[in-house]
Amino acid sequence: MHHLSIEKIRNDFPILKTKTKGKPLIFLDNASTSQKPAIVIRAVDEFYKKYNSNIHRGLYGIAERATKEYEETRKVVADFIGAKDSAEIIFTSGTTEAVNLTAFSWGEKNVKRGDNIITTVSEHHSNFVPWQQLAKRKKANFLVSPILADGTIDQNSLLKLITNKAKLIAITYISNVLGTINPIGSIIQAIRKKNKNAKILIDGAQAVPHLPINVKLLDCDFLVFSGHKMLGPNGIGTLYAKREILENMPPFLYGGHMVKAVNIKDAAFNDVPWKFEAGTQNIAGVIGLKTAINYLKSVPDKEISHYLQEITQYAVAQLLTIPGITIYGKTGGKGRIGTISFNIKGAHPHDLAQILGNNNICVRAGHHCAMPLHRALGIASSIRASFYIYNTKEEVEILKKTLLKARRILNN
């Protein structure tokens, strides 16, 4: 991507023009949430200003428009991730709800005592705790595969856990801490060879904003992700699942619109996907998500991935020049995204993050909702800088300079 087009992208994000105490915003907490382009903010605003109404109900103009926009988004999302059928797209409040929906609906019905639920130590808590708790409820076994030194899933260990007792494998495409990209396509194929009935859920919260994804090619059973990490509004996410799986899943939440008919004794449930969308949905969020995806699509895939790779390599290389730094996971620029977790000897992550924060540089410090991973790395916490399409090399340099300054304050 040329210098000109990154400037153009930055210009689309109102928040990037803000300053605090004269210092420009340097937002490097994109693994946590992304900023929103003006076009997304406008789309949400326009819904509330011009056609706020409930979907699938009103026989009047603005409700018809809201319903149309909402259902069109389903097609846009399906197309974005290569799903064959837009009924395979369920809107949720985010990744967490999508995983919980799967655990409480599919999991409650299908997981039995003695079955194996398999995950990895590198998962975000949202793809770990729901399975751990499902296993406890069902007296199933919860098996956790380790990772390799470079942060990728230890495939040999994972595959050893895949026996005929394996019911579900829940793994992340990209670690939210280490930024390492797992070879998820080949992992799925290898799992299928050992057990063709086990279901596979992919946590795409970090991957969908960064990589082109095709669920048909990947052949995953479930894919979960959030809108807010990919320029969309808060409170909207997606559960993708193969249609035949969704057809056989019981509802998760009961209420309005998820039913076809109700009498005193029983209810007939709506079809997929509406069976899983009870109550008034986050319509503004859905419409904002569509706008965000269209915005992402307006920048060619190749340009985005090339630029993101370039800034990742640059950031890793620059950070490695800081004395006493340890970067976790891959220390080259390849096979990872620009989500970089590190520690600097003698400096506590919270102190570093605070000094960066005082300079309007936003990073995350702590365990990033991945305590088992931090334990496996032998650390209590780390500091994480995560880059996205609007970040620049100049920002990398300011980050590095400020970290060096913080190190001097804390160390001498």
């Binding site: 506590h348 992550p349 919270h350 102190d351 605070q354 000094i355 005082n358 410090a365 702590g366 365990h367 931090h374 650390i379 209590a380 916490s381 913080a406 304050i409 804390l410």
Partner: protein
């Protein structure tokens, strides 16, 4: 300059007072901040309901460690009753800086550990 990391605080962080565990303590407790992984162990000896000796060991950020250093100084010779009345505001007053809500937990950690050890919480 970073106001939070002023000299007095950094001095307590780099050269903490009362660092190291008391031998044969009357009271002890460990407290963790699950948010950041910081932890602190407090050991105390008392005489006539007053703090006679106090020692701590911990790993953590500047705020938690400097507060532990200052707070352990502060409670020496104090009665258990008066320690029971200490709040996070007192800990922050000792530091002499204002803290954002997310950092208050750091200053509170040593106080929680002390109260837990003395069974005042």
């Amino acid at each position: 300059m970073e106001q939070l990391y002023k000299e007095a605080i950094m001095d307590h962080y780099k050269h903490p007072h009362n660092y190291g565990l008391t031998k044969e303590p009357d009271f002890s407790a460990k407290e963790d901040n699950i948010f950041c992984g910081d932890s602190i162990v407090i050991t105390l000896k008392t005489k006539n309901n007053k703090i006679k000796e106090v020692g701590f060991q911990g790993e953590g950020c500047v705020i938690s460690q400097a507060t532990a250093s200052m707070l352990t100084d502060h409670i020496k010779g104090k009665t258990l009753k008066s320690i029971g009345l200490l709040t996070v505001k007192d800990a922050i007053r000792l530091l002499g800086v204002s803290l954002s809500p997310s950092r208050m937990k750091c200053a509170e950690l040593p106080l929680i550990a002390i109260k837990k050890a003395l069974k005042l919480a």
